[in-house]
Structure formats: structure tokens, C-alpha cells
């Protein structure tokens, strides 16, 4: 542990293993733009870590460096202790679920075959892969009647559920989600978020979730990483800490004027278990 760089904010839960780490990671594009600037970040296993910030802050770039959709210019990204550079990209990606805003479903494949995409890629038995896909449909709240339909026949919210099911199909330990609920209306979004939390409480995946919506970040995140334009990490901490003690003017402005109300609502919503868990973490820290 002592070889790892730990600032006060990231060191909240020492006993939790880190599945994904960034060490001195910079992404600089050919035109000189710096998307991510010397990022050090340790993402706890089995929890939801939200990357939040205004557009152009490098949150999506950070997410994509985990599965090598974007290659880091400097520094090291590790997944499960291995430098991602040492893993062949398709192999790496098949082990990491990925959900994007527009779902990105294959229009020419049925819902069932869309969900079974990665198991098919891994060469699993087709019949069994489809049976497992069917079970997943139930799990994410999709009507089994949709199995033989095509994505164009589904609504945006339903497509997003398929996207989540597809990302889970090969049972990857890690899930990357890039604004997965941003393209649907607020009511559908709220129900997708609720189900996502319920699902996560059963699955306990390591989730990295990108959003520009601070409310969503506070609702879903176990840890929140606030990014600011120029690709710098402004603060990385638990949601209640973030609301109670913004680390800079930028973070305070980003949280907005309703911070007090958000904090009140958030603290009321915290369930006892989560409260207790956090208390224990604090005790361990001291």
C-alpha cells in the first residue's frame, strides 16, 4: 500500500482493493490539447465511482483510457494489477463491460443476440449464451417478448436496458458507463438509475460512471471524482464529503447554489447500512 500515492481524499478505505489505477496519466493530442493532465486515481473495487465535470474536462477520455479506446500519452493505467498496455485491446475489452449514451446496439441483430454479443465473441456455446441473455433480460427489467425484436422497435429507455444487459453478459468484473442515462427523459432516467442501483447491490461490479449531472453523481456514486477543464482532478471523495467540503472555488461553483438542499436531501436518503459503512471507514482512517 505504501508504494501507492495516496492523498487524503483517496485514502478513505484502505482495506478495499483497487481494480483500476491511474498513475501520473496524461493524454495529450497531436494538436497539443491536453485532455487529461497528470491524473492519479485509484478506483475501489466493487463500488460505483463517478467521474463528473463540465464538457471538455477529460472525464470520457479518462474512462476510455481504461479499455484502451484512448491510449495514454504518459503514465500508467492498470487493471487488476496489469498495465493495460501489456494486454491486447480486444482481449482487454471483452473483459470490461461498456455502456454508452445512445446504447450503440447493433441494428441488424435481435435483442437477444445483441445481449449475447460478447459471449459470442468469446466463442461460447450459442445456445447457452442465448439462454443466459434471456435470464439477463429479466434481470434488467426487459419484457421477454422483446427477445426476437430489433433495436429499432424499442424505445430509448428499453434500448438502454439492453445496453446494460449486453455489458453484463460475459459477467465482467468492471463496467464502464459513459452518460448511459443522459439521452432519456427525466422520469425514465430516474427509474433506470433506481434499477441500476438495485442491480449493483446484487452484482457488486467495479463501475466507472461518467456524467455531467452532479445530481446523478451524488445519487449513484460511492466515490465522486470532480474534473475541471484542462483535464485536472479537482476533488475525489465520497458524495457527502464533497457536498460538505468542496475543495476549491471551482468545485463549489460546479456543485451550484443548491448545494445545501442537495446535501440535506442526500443525507436524508442515506440508508443506515451505508451510514454505518462510512462510519467504519472513518474509524479505520483515524
Amino acid at each position: 500500500m505504501d508504494t501507492r500515492r495516496n492523498d487524503g481524499a483517496t485514502g478513505a478505505d484502505e482495506d478495499v482493493s483497487r481494480l483500476i489505477t491511474f498513475a501520473g496519466v496524461t493524454k495529450r493530442y497531436a494538436d497539443g490539447t491536453v485532455a487529461v493532465d497528470h491524473l492519479d486515481l485509484e478506483i475501489p473495487a466493487g463500488k460505483i465511482t463517478v467521474l463528473v465535470g463540465p464538457s471538455g474536462c477529460g472525464k470520457t477520455t479518462t474512462l476510455r483510457m481504461i479499455n484502451r479506446m484512448v491510449e495514454a500519452t504518459e503514465g500508467t493505467v492498470t487493471v487488476d494489477g496489469r498495465n493495460v498496455r501489456d494486454v491486447d485491446p480486444p482481449t482487454l475489452r471483452r473483459g470490461i463491460g461498456y455502456v454508452i449514451q445512445q446504447a450503440g446496439l447493433f441494428p441488424h441483430r435481435t435483442i437477444l443476440d445483441n445481449i449475447a454479443t460478447v459471449p459470442f465473441l468469446l466463442g461460447r456455446d450459442k445456445k447457452q449464451a442465448r439462454a443466459e441473455a434471456r435470464a439477463l433480460m429479466d434481470r434488467v427489467g426487459l419484457d421477454p417478448a422483446f427477445a426476437g425484436r430489433y433495436p429499432a422497435q424499442l424505445s430509448g429507455g428499453q434500448q438502454q436496458r439492453v445496453g446494460v444487459a449486453r455489458a453484463l453478459a460475459a459477467d465482467p468484473p468492471i463496467l464502464l458507463m459513459d452518460e448511459p442515462f443522459s439521452a432519456v427523459d427525466p422520469i425514465v432516467r430516474a427509474s433506470l438509475q433506481d434499477e441500476f442501483l438495485r442491480l449493483q447491490s446484487e452484482l457488486e461490479k467495479t463501475i466507472v460512471f461518467v456524467t455531467h449531472d452532479i445530481d446523478e453523481a451524488v445519487k449513484l456514486g460511492h466515490r465522486i471524482a470532480v474534473f475541471q477543464v484542462g483535464g485536472r482532478l479537482a476533488q475525489f471523495t465520497a458524495p457527502d464529503d464533497l457536498l460538505a467540503a468542496p475543495a476549491s472555488d471551482f468545485v463549489r461553483d460546479f456543485l451550484g447554489g443548491e448545494r445545501g438542499i442537495r446535501r440535506l436531501r442526500f443525507t436524508q436518503e442515506l440508508d443506515a447500512e451505508r451510514d454505518a459503512e462510512r462510519e467504519a471507514e472513518r474509524a479505520g482512517e483515524r
Binding site: 461498456y98 454508452i100 450503440g104 446496439l105 441488424h108 425484436r149 424499442l154 429507455g157 422520469i187
Partner: protein
């Protein structure tokens, strides 16, 4: 009914059809089929890799598009005559120019088809661990297929019609019947001409229908695309 001219000759004499359907007409029809479909297959075989290359290396496309457009603008008769100098009075002389026409229709279809693949679909394929070849074969080409099939139908119908021009150098399938009708001893004889026109039109319609059915069969997802989406269901 004396559109053609001399001596009150009718447009269609059934006796000609009866005497020749399994002889001259059948031979002409067979030749016509070979001369129209060989260039389509040949053109497709070249257009596919060429179009893929143009979609992959974007700077390649403008010059290729310019070249194929110029090619398309050259009248068929001119190309046939030019090719006689190289390949003589053979099928090749008709097939090669028609393959070039097919190429100029299909290259843009391949490129436009590949460009019609939504970026988020391409990205999600990459993110799920598709390698480049697998992504092309399993994701991009199927999604490009509707646009490609559209081009294929246009090229096929155009070829079926263009083959007749080959009759001017003596290799024209059903076009040969038209020459026969025009050069009939003792004045023009409309019957072979009418038979050729009717068969060419029927052939073109049938080919188009077959390709349409193939398209439906290959792309079941396209049929549902325009149908309505169910109301949002949330549990």
C-alpha cells in the same frame, strides 16, 4: 398498327415468335443474361475492396470518385469500340466496359453504405472487443448492406438495358434481335424488335424483384425499421 412502315407490317407476328422462341430468341436471351450478370459480379468483386479502401483512407475517395464518374460519362458505344482494339469481337469487349459502369455505380454505394454505420455503433463494437476484420464483416458490412443493395439493383437494371448496345459490334444478346429486325431483307421487320424490348424490360423487372426479395431475406431488421415503437414500459 403500321408504326414501322412498309406494307402494313404488324408490330408483332406470333408466327415469328412460334418459329424462333427455342432458337434465335432463346440463344439471344441466354447471351443477354451472361452479358448482363457477369459485369455485375465482376464490378462487385472490384468495387467492394476499392470502396472499403476509400472508406478506410478518406483521401483516396475523391480521386477514385472522379475517375469513376468520368468513366460513367463515356457513352457505352464509345467504350465498346475502343475495347474492340484490345480484345477483338469477344464477350470480353462487352463485359469489361459494363463492369466499369457497374464499378462506378457500386463504389459510391459501398462508401456511402459504410458511412451510414452510426458512429456510436462502431464505437460500441470496438469497446466490446471486435477486432477490425470481425467488426467489418459482422457489424459494418451488414449495416451497409441496404445502401449497397440499392446500388446493385441500379447497376443490374442499367446493365440489362446497356447490353443491347453491344449489338452494334455484333455481341448484344437480345440487342441482336433488334439489328435483325432493322436489317430484315425487304424492309424493317418490327416483330424481333418488339420481342427484344419486351424481354429486356421483363428481364430487368425480374432481376430487380429478385434482388429486392434477396434484400428482404438478408435484412429482416430493415422491415421493422419504419414500424412504430411501443410506448415506454417501465417496471
Amino acid at each position: 398498327m403500321t408504326a414501322f412502315g412498309t406494307g402494313g407490317e404488324p408490330l408483332l407476328r406470333w408466327s415469328y415468335v412460334r418459329d424462333n422462341y427455342d432458337g434465335v430468341i432463346w440463344e439471344a436471351l441466354k447471351e443477354h443474361l451472361v452479358l448482363s450478370f457477369t459485369p455485375v459480379l465482376l464490378g462487385l468483386a472490384i468495387a467492394l475492396p476499392l470502396g472499403l479502401a476509400c472508406a478506410r483512407w478518406r483521401r483516396l475517395y475523391p480521386p477514385v470518385l472522379a475517375a469513376t464518374s468520368v468513366l460513367y460519362a463515356i457513352p457505352a458505344i464509345g467504350l465498346f469500340v475502343v475495347f474492340v482494339a484490345f480484345t477483338g469481337l469477344t464477350y470480353t469487349t462487352v463485359v469489361v466496359p459494363l463492369a466499369l459502369y457497374t464499378l462506378s455505380v457500386l463504389v459510391p454505394s459501398v462508401v456511402d453504405g459504410l458511412r451510414s454505420v452510426p458512429e456510436h455503433v462502431r464505437q460500441s463494437a470496438v469497446a466490446m472487443g471486435f477486432g477490425p476484420l470481425r467488426r467489418l464483416v459482422q457489424v459494418e458490412l451488414p449495416i451497409a448492406l441496404p445502401v449497397l443493395m440499392g446500388g446493385l439493383r441500379v447497376a443490374t437494371v442499367a446493365n440489362i438495358s446497356l447490353v443491347s448496345v453491344g449489338a452494334l459490334i455484333g455481341i448484344g444478346g437480345l440487342g441482336q434481335l433488334m439489328v435483325t429486325g432493322m436489317k430484315w431483307p425487304g424492309g424493317a421487320y418490327p416483330t424481333p424488335i418488339v420481342v427484344a424490348i419486351v424481354l429486356i424490360v421483363v428481364l430487368a423487372l425480374l432481376a430487380d424483384l429478385l434482388l429486392l426479395l434477396l434484400q428482404r431475406f438478408l435484412m429482416p431488421w430493415e422491415r421493422v425499421r419504419r414500424s412504430r415503437r411501443p410506448a415506454e414500459v417501465t417496471r
